[in-house]
């Protein structure tokens, strides 16, 4: 009895070990094999089984669920999201401290009048650099990270199936894009709500709409920002199938974003600019017009779809034929 209670460590009073084993039984219904004998406790083997099967981790049914659980449990990814959440807070505090200089251009100038504008400002500020950085790190790591640490070969012999692995990785990246932009938006909304007044919103085209309708627009804009990142995520996924070195894949993916931004700024390249995945990243602001100006938004979504199709196929072609040596 004393053996079992020390091995279980926590939450078990001496003398109550047998009862505790019963409680665990109901917690982890999956583990019924030696459960009935565990009541008689004291036997080392029984104690061990209940220890290992205790649901400190959630045992997820599907590989997709597991991929998401691993993605959002990983400290590095949480740190990325934490950094994204900190940016709107810093932005809000900076604006609050400098409200004497009223006005200013764009969304930032309006934040001190209406906290909701911090959402638009924060998304505008994070979209060119910080969001692509986070997406570049996670997407560049998707396959190359598995290859680099050798787990790719064990997933493949499990067998996960190469197509299924790529589909799950791609789907998880899309979720990450959404979570990243939602993180920025929610952090900005909460910060704006605390630091600034809220109320009716004046659109770029001059009309005034209710706070509720503006909030709805903010939600749609957040989703549009997430969608704007999909092309980059597809590029990152493809690059990550090319190498076993995750850092290289991340660097290339982030570098591609920077390159695209540079190409964007060279007037002589106007012919190719509409095809760059960064070209219409700011199109989400068109939602703040009445009526909503849609052409650029549609253009952006088409470009993102095109990049997903092209680089998704390339990633599939590469991974499905690749010799996995790592």
């Amino acid at each position: 009895m004393s053996l079992s209670s020390t091995q279980k460590g926590t939450a078990t009073e001496p003398g109550a070990a047998a009862g505790a084993a019963d409680v665990r039984t109901s917690e982890t219904a999956d583990v019924s094999i030696s459960r009935t004998t565990a009541v008689s406790a004291g036997q080392t083997t029984d104690v061990r089984v209940s220890e290992t099967s205790r649901a400190r981790f959630r045992v997820r049914g599907t590989f997709a669920g597991n991929e998401l659980a691993v993605m959002f449990r990983r400290t590095r990814n949480l740190a990325l999201l934490g950094a994204l959440a900190a940016i709107p807070i810093a932005l809000g505090v900076a604006i609050k401290l400098t409200t004497r200089h009223q006005g200013g251009d764009g969304f930032i100038g309006q934040v001190s009048n209406n906290g909701l504008f911090l959402v638009f400002s924060a998304l505008t500020v994070t979209l060119p650099v910080f969001l692509p950085l986070a997406v570049g790190v996670v997407s560049g790591d998707a396959i190359s990270g598995e290859a680099g640490q050798g787990t790719l070969r064990y997933l493949l012999v499990a067998p996960v199936g190469r197509n299924r692995l790529l589909a799950v990785k791609g789907g998880a990246l899309a979720v990450f894009c959404l979570v990243a932009s939602v993180t920025v938006a929610v952090s900005a909304f909460v910060t704006g709500m605390i630091l600034f007044p809220l109320g009716r919103v004046t659109l770029l085209s001059g009309e005034s709409i209710s706070f509720g309708s503006a909030l709805l627009k903010a939600v749609v804009i957040t989703v549009l920002v997430a969608a704007s990142l999909l092309g980059l995520a597809a590029i990152g996924l493809f690059v990550s199938t090319l190498t076993d070195t995750a850092v290289a894949a991340m660097a290339v993916t982030v570098g591609v974003t920077i390159l695209s931004g540079i190409l964007q700024s060279i007037p002589q390249l106007s012919a190719i600019q509409p095809w760059l995945f960064t070209d219409q990243w700011t199109s989400f602001a068109d939602l703040l017009r009445d009526p909503v100006y849609t052409p650029n938004i549609v253009h952006n979504l088409l470009i993102q779809g095109l990049y997903v199709a092209v680089f998704g196929s390339a990633a599939w072609a590469r991974l499905s034929t690749r010799d996995v040596l790592a």
């Binding site: 083997t45 089984v49 290992t52 067998p159 010799d323």
Partner: protein, 318 residues
């Protein structure tokens, strides 16, 4: 195994003309015809760089052969990989883990990757697998905190998540202490006794001798020999050895007794034991006044057979 095997065999592993040329032009595996009988514990031997790991990678479909075919449990690889591999547990070129996940979480991820694995029994199967390799008490520890031997055990646990028909274990006792080696060898014997075919690559010859029923030897990408462990040793003949300060006299006696392939190395004189009566030879030696310090028949070890077959020790093949 309702479908008839194309290679016409009921072998657990069968390859025919299996070759792999890497992009650099290097021929790593050259025309391998391997047959692993069902239920065997099959030792796969070879010096470093002889193509063992490349072969194993082709067996489980990680890399595509340049030529030839692979059948696992009667089904072609890689075509039927998704159907066959759930019945195969594998440890390939060392274990690999997610360092930021616990041991149990690592196994949960590998198990989730297998579509045929039942999520409802997952926790129980993980607990059992960890227990079999002696990791039950470290289940909740992050894998990065594991020692080399514990990582190796976790890798073996991953191969044991489901009842398997075939286990492919590449150097399974690597990094383990002597006690751990003994445990894992005992585990392999238990699994084999349950009818699981085990394909075991190792550079430890005594490990192969202790555990395996069959063995194959690779050298420079080619299969030198395959058969039962007894057959492999049979190529080498037993030798009769005498330890004595009177080497010259001993040689004379052995020659007179009909000993062939006579060799003297300092105080040790030995010859082919075939056809000799040890007791008579010993009596003759004593009668001739040879001071016998040591006398005996030496059975050839697998190591002798190995060196004789590959013509090299365990040096890296060029």
């Amino acid at each position: 195994m309702t479908v008839e095997s194309d290679l016409g065999t009921d072998a657990a592993i069968a390859t025919s003309g299996l070759s792999k040329r890497y992009r650099g032009g290097q021929l790593a595996v050259d025309g391998l015809d391997l047959t692993v009988p069902p239920g065997a514990v099959f030792g796969f031997l070879g010096p470093n760089g002889s193509g063992k790991t490349t072969t194993i990678r082709m067996l489980v479909g990680l890399i595509a052969p340049s030529a030839g075919r692979v059948e696992l449990l009667g089904r072609p690889i890689p075509q039927a990989a998704n159907r066959v591999l759930p019945r195969v547990g594998a440890l390939i070129e060392g274990p690999a883990h997610y360092p930021y996940l616990s041991g149990a979480q690592n196994l949960a991820r590998y198990d989730a990757a297998d579509r045929t694995a039942d999520p409802r029994t997952r926790a129980a199967r993980i607990g059992t697998a960890l227990e079999r390799v002696g990791l039950a008490n470290a289940a909740q520890k992050k894998a990065k905190a594991y020692s080399l031997g514990m990582k190796q055990r976790l890798g073996i646990a991953a191969a044991l998540l489901q009842p398997r028909d075939l286990l492919v274990l590449d150097e399974p006792t690597n990094g383990l202490d002597p006690q751990g080696m003994r445990e894992i060898r005992a585990l392999i014997k238990t699994l084999a006794a349950d009818g699981t075919t085990v394909f075991l690559s190792s550079h430890l010859l005594d490990e192969i001798e202790q555990v395996c029923t069959h063995a194959a030897v690779m050298s420079r990408g080619r299969l030198v020999i395959q058969g039962t462990v007894d057959q492999l040793g049979a190529g080498q003949r037993a030798r009769l050895a005498v330890t004595t300060p009177d080497a010259v006299a001993a040689e004379t006696v052995l020659k007179a007794a009909g000993g062939t392939d006579l060799r003297a190395e300092g105080e040790r004189v030995h010859c082919d034991a075939e056809g000799l009566e040890p007791d008579a030879v010993c009596a003759a030696l004593v009668a001739a006044g040879v001071r016998v310090f040591g006398f005996g028949i030496e059975r050839p070890s697998l190591e002798d057979a190995f060196v004789a077959l590959t013509g090299e020790g365990f040096d890296v093949a060029e």
